[in-house]
Symmetry: C2
Subunit: 348 residues, 2 copies
Amino acid sequence: MAVTIYDIAQRTGYSPPTVSKALNNQPDIGKATRLKISAVAAEMGYVPNQGAKTLVTRKSWLIGVIFQEIDVNLGIEHPLFNGIMDSFKKRIEQEGYELIFIARNLGQRKMSYLDHCRYRGVDGVLILNSDSFDDEVLEVVGSDVPSVSANIVYEETTTVTCQNTEPSIEAVRFLFGLGHRRIAHIAGPLNAKASAGLERREGYFQGLKACGIPYDERLLYVAEHWTEPCGAEALYRFRQLADPPTAVFCSSDLLALGVYSAARTLGLELPRDLSVLSFDDNYVARYLNPGLTTYRQDRVVLGRISAEQLVRRINGQACEKRIQVPVQLIERGSCQRLVPASANSSTQ
Amino acid sequence: MAVTIYDIAQRTGYSPPTVSKALNNQPDIGKATRLKISAVAAEMGYVPNQGAKTLVTRKSWLIGVIFQEIDVNLGIEHPLFNGIMDSFKKRIEQEGYELIFIARNLGQRKMSYLDHCRYRGVDGVLILNSDSFDDEVLEVVGSDVPSVSANIVYEETTTVTCQNTEPSIEAVRFLFGLGHRRIAHIAGPLNAKASAGLERREGYFQGLKACGIPYDERLLYVAEHWTEPCGAEALYRFRQLADPPTAVFCSSDLLALGVYSAARTLGLELPRDLSVLSFDDNYVARYLNPGLTTYRQDRVVLGRISAEQLVRRINGQACEKRIQVPVQLIERGSCQRLVPASANSSTQ
DNA sequence: CTGAAAGCGCTTACAG
DNA sequence: CTGAAAGCGCTTACAG
């Protein structure tokens, strides 16, 4: 049987409330008393029962994570989500919180995400999902449970993502600077809440304009999912054109992976026959051949800021509606100057 | 304020205990009563408070996960651990359990893993760590908290890993079958509890013997860590030999990654100049060039079996001490017949 | 089949 | 500075 404050009370001669206050560093306790009590508590190996505390304080020190990734279907293996979650976890632990996964179906019992949050009494929730229209997630963000979203943009809560539009403009400029004029774009799924698809495409449009390149709708492919097969399909389409693109800007590395495999199938050599620029910097990007040049999303920063925003919400402090973290171009070998005037295979 | 069983009691006219029993499907409740109570509960949006239940039942329906990966330092991004955890999670959720991360340091408070388990009252613990000698983990497996380990082998509890020795014997045979005679091995760190390093090396030895190849100690490199730089270092060493290996069997994909990068640095072409066979089938293996031929660890099975074993332990049922799951050879392009007698670059 | 009593481990007013 | 009383939301004997 575990040691309780009653056991400590008995051993020290103080009452349970006094023990409780001493252990919680309440101010109205004599110094000697506090010392005595904590010494005995340590000696007896006392560990507080957080469940009992939660019952009376209404504070569980638990953060739920709704982790639902339907697109790539990698679950916790999802390369972006798990990086964010890892960093988020470290940051909230500093604040004394712990992470619990909010399950969708628990045993036989069907419980909504929101009910589930109440069931466990979580103090807040991190939303890491890819389905913008999931009713149950919508119910959570619309509830009084503090939340933060690190992918989908919800009006009702704080959303933390990377910057999308600006780097996408820069992406086009970068390829333009390498001499490319036929620059294609593989956009991710487009819907109002999934910022990545929409905002990166917007950057593509603006980049084209900034470079004075007229928009050619045949050079835009909108992927149905953020998956490799969709990326491959895009390249097959592009290659059917009489005047195919010499460079392609992919809105995610998973899509770029599809471009790589399609290129191999088509006998195209990268980057000689096609420059590929991407977005994410997944774990695999550096191992590809050629290494993928891509805008890196900083998962550590993304997770940390999400955590800080959520803690603010929990504490009732003011919060941003949307935070966008800068990305960083990681140059590897997949982009090449178009006209081989010089012998350089890559340019700064 | 949340709806409690008192509210339901009031509305239905029954007592709280009766409401409790009805909602928990206890047998000694009238059918009409049960129906009435559950209808009202549903109507009022009742969600049980699991914390309060835990206090009296001493069952939290919480499984802790000790996730500590010191080698590669990828945290939750660790490609093998997170795959196992994902599958484990799905399986325990079917049983009604949820996953909570057991933090090492929570806020200012320093709490051991074991104390932490008690603090949250977890019903069991999944151990996914890479440091065999972590005292705190040792304390957990030696305690009365039910546990299962999915990497390090602990005498005190159930360990679930893939098969190591048999496939490693097969690995040598496979390379032998391709005509290789100078077969090197990059072993992982060797210690009694980290089965992977030791057992795979053992398989290498046995495989050599089975093929009638005398063991040459210069062809064995023991990596200090399961990391890419260690794999690279191994190849640099091997290449300094007067008679370097024509094939290398790596005890993990991370090590193989190092071999790939060192090969590139050295100007070696894979698989023409060196056949590489590996173990794991990480996310990256298929994207390498050439694709990595490797023994796949089935994370889904590993996670599922770990979950089932832990549930058995929690329920006081008999458990295996060690379970080993078969691996599967995934042939891609990194192994080649040594003597190019035929034009085939890959063999069955 | 149903309910009054007690208690799980803790904290919060409140009185002294 | 310390403690008696009450209660958080729930379940478990036990009595009827």
